[in-house]
């Protein structure tokens, strides 16, 4: 039997990126018995949740964890509770209660220590309690220079550390799962840019947190804890307008994030300690 050596593609790029992500999600689910995913209700992890639903034909067959610092915007909590119900999610809320009772917050201490206590430690507690072997996260390479160095399958040591300088090789999509890892972080969105996410949100009709949509000339481009996220000047009040805005913007995505600005290497330090 003979074939033409080369042919035209029939599938568009966004669909191929989607399939790449679904492949990674299913790969994780096939290899580990205890899988969970982190959901921050932001655009990326909500797109990831959408992709998980696609990968499993409309269901989410593992727990979805919200690392709740208690400092999130009220719109984030509303969005979470609405979708958790609509999509029938096994939602688990992880809070570092001890640190919160102690008054931990961005005003009490520096932002680095706050992120570490309320996010990283809360995540550690959740993993210890729920016993996950693998966690899906919605990080992307283009959002930060340190995240650009991530792998799709990224092992974490028992103490949670990420040794960015000595990551195991990841050749093609032949993902390895090293024996000595305490748990693996799985990153199905690594290849997508911020613009890809918004184009995907638009095409799929994925629910959008209202904080992203401009009100009174301002909107959030990146959302997290209310004391540490600043809105940008924008009139983009619809997803179409956000796509158009990003197609011409020259500002980096995390320009409104306080933690990235304090020190050039804050992100690296946070991530090496187990931050998302």
């Amino acid at each position: 039997m003979r074939y033409d050596p080369r042919g035209e593609l029939t599938v568009d790029l966004l669909s191929r990126m989607e399939s790449e992500s679904i492949y990674v999600i299913r790969e994780a689910y096939s290899r580990y018995s205890r899988v969970g995913m982190l959901w921050s209700m932001g655009k990326d992890s909500t797109a990831l949740l959408w992709l998980v639903r696609k990968a499993f034909f409309g269901t989410v067959p593992f727990p979805v964890i919200h690392i709740d610092t208690s400092y999130k915007f009220k719109e984030i909590y509303e969005f979470r509770d609405r979708l958790a119900k609509e999509w029938n999610l096994d939602l688990r809320i992880a809070r570092n209660e001890e640190a919160l009772a102690d008054g931990m917050g961005p005003k009490k201490i520096d932002k680095f220590a706050c992120c570490n206590a309320l996010k990283t430690t809360a995540l550690k507690q959740a993993i210890a309690k729920l016993g996950f072997e693998a966690l899906l996260l919605g990080i992307r390479r283009d959002e930060h220079g340190v995240r650009a160095k991530e792998r799709y399958f990224s092992p974490r040591a028992q103490d949670f550390t990420w040794n960015v300088g000595a990551q195991p090789p990841e050749l093609w999509d032949l993902y390895a799962t090293v024996d000595e890892a305490a748990h693996d972080r799985i990153h199905p969105l690594l290849h997508m840019t911020e613009l890809d996410i918004w184009r995907y949100v638009r095409r799929e009709g994925i629910p959008v947190n209202p904080l992203y949509l401009a009100k009174d000339g301002k909107r959030f481009r990146s959302i997290g804890c209310s004391p540490c996220c600043m809105p940008i000047a924008s009139n983009a009040a619809t997803v179409d307008e956000i796509v158009a805005e990003l197609e011409s913007s020259r500002e980096p995505e995390r320009a409104g994030r306080a933690q990235d600005k304090e020190n050039a290497f804050t992100m690296q330090k946070l991530r090496s300690l187990g931050y998302m």
Partner: protein
């Protein structure tokens, strides 16, 4: 097949690995491109911490900046009104070759960076060899640091000639050789008036002339990733590597040979009748249920199933691969226990010279390796279908080497 190749009516997407010897200017060239492109809409300016050291655009780790060297591979994304580019930076140090491969195995094309004052060095040759093994056989050569050669044509022509000879010996075609001063931007985006004797394209122009990746039209190949039962159906999930899979298709489960028929091609929220290369779907089949690692293909054109897989293997791990060793072979969704039967035609990747016959393969060496497998492995030749023609050998779950099937 490149998983991110683009359709004819879309902006082409090219992922370009920047390879070459340590300190020849790979990160600097990408950083400079990034800096010059940041005038365009949709492209963020480089952050202030870079301070004119263009390598810092890519080298974002504290230790990378302190030691002024790339440690881990990284990527930067550029989208212009006419195309999308992903630049993949890789470290030049020999000790970091595994990070180089983690980057280069994601590329469709490559720029080989060569410093004018040093010419072809050990890692230039080794990176070129790896490109050739990975199937990246069209390369742009950037002769960087032309300022150390007073931007003179004679010296450039000598390097151009040497590079072309070495690359030709590896089966690599050079589309352009470009005299560059990455730090100052000569021939990076715009042509350099300081090297008026050079009439060819700038680096960015040469990238713009690359042919976008295409997909081979071939028989259907569907490696089974898993069988899901969580929603009451037995759904065989996986990604189409080549050909198409449609409702009603009769397929053979390899290895083993059982016959199945596609009842439904499942997706969410709606099912579709057919799936094309690159698409992750689910299949509901009539017939015996396959398992993870099986490959579905039409009976008239099956891939090979073999208990004696072999390939040209490049070894990464510090501890050598030895005849008699048992380890795991990973290819597409297959993981099979294998034993090393023979190691022949060893080559030193630094000199590209043959090594004496032996029973072991050390780090940075390559050889023809014959294996015996506990159960049959389904393979194609790399040149027919790359995704079934490459494998990784794993020790303790980590990739210790990779192989290419002839």
């Amino acid at each position: 097949m490149s998983p991110l190749a683009t359709r004819a009516d879309e902006k082409p997407l090219v992922r370009i690995a920047m390879v070459g010897h340590v300190d020849h200017g790979k990160s600097t060239l990408i950083g400079r491109i990034r800096h010059e492109m940041s005038g365009l809409p949709g492209i963020a300016s480089v952050d202030a911490s870079v301070g004119g050291n263009w390598a810092f655009v890519m080298d974002q780790l504290q230790e990378e900046r302190e030691r002024e060297m790339t440690i881990d591979t990284t990527q930067t994304f550029l989208e212009t009104p006419v195309c999308r580019l992903v630049f993949i930076d890789v470290p030049g140090h020999q000790e970091l070759i595994q990070n180089m491969l983690s980057g280069a195995t994601r590329a469709d094309a490559a720029v080989l960076v060569l410093a004018g004052d040093e010419g072809v060095q050990v890692q230039t040759r080794r990176h070129a060899l790896l490109l050739s093994m990975l199937g990246i056989r069209t390369v742009i050569v950037a002769v960087n640091k032309m300022d150390t050669l007073a931007r003179q044509e004679d010296a450039f022509r000598r390097l151009e000639h040497t590079a072309a000879e070495e690359l030709r010996a590896l089966g690599i075609t050079v589309t352009a050789t470009i005299p560059v001063v990455a730090r100052e931007g000569d021939n990076v985006v715009d042509r350099s008036p300081a090297m008026a004797w050079y009439q060819g394209p700038s680096v960015m122009e040469a990238i713009g002339e690359l042919e976008p990746a295409t997909v081979p039209v071939d028989a259907a190949r569907f490696p089974v990733q898993a069988v899901f039962r969580h929603d009451g159906h037995s759904t065989v999930v996986g990604r189409v590597l080549s050909g198409s899979v449609a409702e009603g298709d009769a397929l053979t489960v390899c290895p083993g040979g059982a016959a199945v028929r596609v009842r439904t091609v499942r997706r969410f929220p709606e099912d579709h009748a057919a799936a094309e290369p690159g698409e992750s779907v689910g299949l509901i089949l009539d017939g015996p249920e396959p398992v993870r690692g099986d490959v579905l293909a039409p009976a008239a054109d099956l891939p090979r199933s073999t208990r004696t897989p072999a390939g040209r293997v490049f070894w990464l791990a510090e501890r050598p691969l030895e005849v008699g060793e048992e380890l795991a072979l990973r290819c597409a969704t297959q993981v099979v226990e294998v034993r090393v039967e023979s190691v022949t035609e060893r080559l030193d990747s630094a000199t590209l010279e043959p090594l004496p016959e032996g029973r072991a393969l050390a780090s940075m060496e390559l050889a023809n390796v014959r294996l015996s497998a506990q159960s049959p492995v389904v393979l194609e030749s790399f040149d027919r279908l790359a995704a079934l023609g490459r494998f990784v050998l794993e020790r303790g779950g980590a990739a210790a080497g990779f192989g290419i099937v002839a």
